[in-house]
Amino acid sequence: MTTFALRPTEPAKRPDDPGKPRRRRRSTASVREGLAGWGFVGPALLIVLGLTVFPGVWALLLSFQSWDGFSPATFIGGQNYADLVTDEGVRAAVVHTVLYTVLFVPASLLLGLALAVALNRRIRFIGLYRTAIFVPFVASAAATGILTTYLFSPQFGIVNNVLRVLHLPQQGWLEDRGEAMLVIVVMSLWGQAAFTTVIYLAALQDVPGDVIEAARIDGANAWQTFWRVVWPHLGPVTAFVAIYQTLQAVQLFDLVYATTRGGPLDATQTIVYYLWKTAFQNLQFGYGSAIAYGMFFVTLLATVVVTLVQRRAGRTPS
């Protein structure tokens, strides 16, 4: 259960190094074993690498070109990347994406933690509660989008209806520039809470029971036990979930497409939405690739820096 780690697994350990006997005597058996090995991994390897490495390199080349997909492409050097820096649309998309990320990631961590703590006990109906909270995980972005438009519809929606009954002012929600992103965050949480909850639930159950018992015997109350004993155990999981959710959040596209299509007045236009529009509506394949690569480099850099800082921070106190 502790297998979810960002570190990409320990380097494949081979207790018996295959290199040595082979170098000594290349027998037909080892040739056959080699062929069998490639027979096993070949098809999947070909598909995965063919659909990542090849287009990945191609996208890099495209990012230095101006191309609409039909007429001949022209090489324009770093012009796309220069445009990227000054593009107002990119700047706005970055702001919207950061806004979504800053709202969504902490909220999803807190919600997941709270739900995991609440669900981590043996009481009646706990199975039903878990089912109810986990089942939205299967809802697609398209389905969630339609539900969102309905629930938050200013005229027919249940949310405004509740506000009306409570004599609170009606809101524009998805039709309001300031509120649209908030609605998308709320509905993302609805669909994604299951994921963080499950991860935290598993982590909670990994906390050694005798440590908690010891705290209790020492007179700690439930609140103290949680924050002083349990919470420190959840540090690595929290870091992992935070990074994972951030990487997901900056790629937001589906739910925006299925609700506001970037509106109102571009208020929910995220980076990937802008990328999609640039490439597949304006047919700027070169510039679109530059946006994709620019975003990739920034997130990669941020991930590496955060991981390094976090490793160092994790090492010093111990």
Binding site: A44, Y129, F137, L151, Q155, S289
Partner: protein
């Protein structure tokens, strides 16, 4: 994998409330039921609310939906939303398309990823480490980076606007290979060695001994592939513009433009697209939870 499926059903005696309950001398419980119900019940209902609204609205007449002020509980029942859905749209065809995409994705994923995972875990061949590292590296590449060239590539292969365009990216995945490799590494090798001594070749060992043991991992992979391929929106959106090759998700978002205010039809479409997964979730909740837990590996 099997521990993952079990672990969430066996909460240890360590919850906050349990802790205070054990020393009953300090704090005596007055509630006839756990106070956590007061939190969990409303939260659960809130999480169910969108689905409840979806089902209710799909059987509500338009007159009721569009009434102001809106009512919380519908008083009339009609199937006219479903009738319009099946009469005016190709929803059954889109459902079939999605089933084809997901079924191909799952079969191909299970076969290719388990073969490759086994090869990387157990067989020795030149280039094994490099091949596996290459697979791991591709996990870091975000899909939107590959979208444009993949689209151009598929266009040249005349795959665009065909269902094949939606299927090919789901034939195998780095995550699937990784997941299966980790699982096979956790299996004891003795059984396979015994099989080899008894005269099985590698493939026979794989199909007769290893795969039956791999059922939990295969279930995880199947659910992961099903959820991903069934719910995928952005790639079909890019690669398919021909409504004959639409998937369910594409059809749904298309309705949003064309049938904007026909809520019962929209919700009926939503039910058709979502109900299969909801039912499957109810039947195989443990496996879904295990899949969510291992999806964390994908990072």
């Amino acid at each position: 994998m099997s521990t993952e499926t079990q672990v969430l059903d066996t909460p240890l005696r360590q919850g906050v409330v349990t802790a205070s309950r054990a020393d009953g001398t300090v704090r005596r419980r007055r509630w006839p039921f756990s106070p956590w119900h007061l939190l969990l019940l409303p939260v659960s209902l809130l999480f169910l609310l969108p689905f409840v609204e979806m089902f209710l609205t799909s059987v509500e007449p338009a007159s009721e939906i569009n009434r102001f002020p809106p009512s919380f509980i519908p008083t009339q029942f009609t199937l006219s939303g479903y009738a319009r859905l099946f009469a005016d749209s190709d929803i059954l065809h889109w459902l079939l398309n999605t089933v084809i995409v997901s079924a191909s994705a799952i079969v191909s994923h299970l076969v290719l990823c388990s073969l490759a995972g086994y090869g990387f875990a157990r067989l020795r061949f030149p280039g094994r480490t490099f091949g596996f590292l290459a697979i791991l590296a591709t996990i870091m590449i975000p899909s939107q980076l590959l979208m444009i060239p993949t689209y151009v590539m598929f266009a040249r292969l005349h795959l665009v606007d065909h269902l094949g365009a939606a299927i090919v990216p789901w034939l195998a995945s780095a995550f699937g290979i990784f997941l299966m490799r980790q699982f096979f590494l956790s299996l004891p090798a003795e059984l396979e060695e015994a099989g080899m001594i008894d005269g099985c070749n590698r493939l026979q060992v794989f199909f007769r001994i290893v795969l039956p043991l791999a059922r939990p991992a295969l279930a995880t992979l199947a659910i992961f592939t099903l959820l991903g391929s069934w719910n995928d929106l952005v790639w079909p959106l890019v690669a398919i513009n021909n409504d004959h090759a639409f998937t369910l998700q594409l059809g749904l978002t298309n309705f949003q433009g064309s049938r904007r205010t026909d809520w019962s039809l929209l919700m009926a479409g939503n039910v058709v697209a979502t109900l299969p997964l909801i039912l499957l979730f109810l039947v195989a909740q443990k496996q879904f939870v295990a899949t969510m837990a291992s999806a964390g590996l994908k990072g």
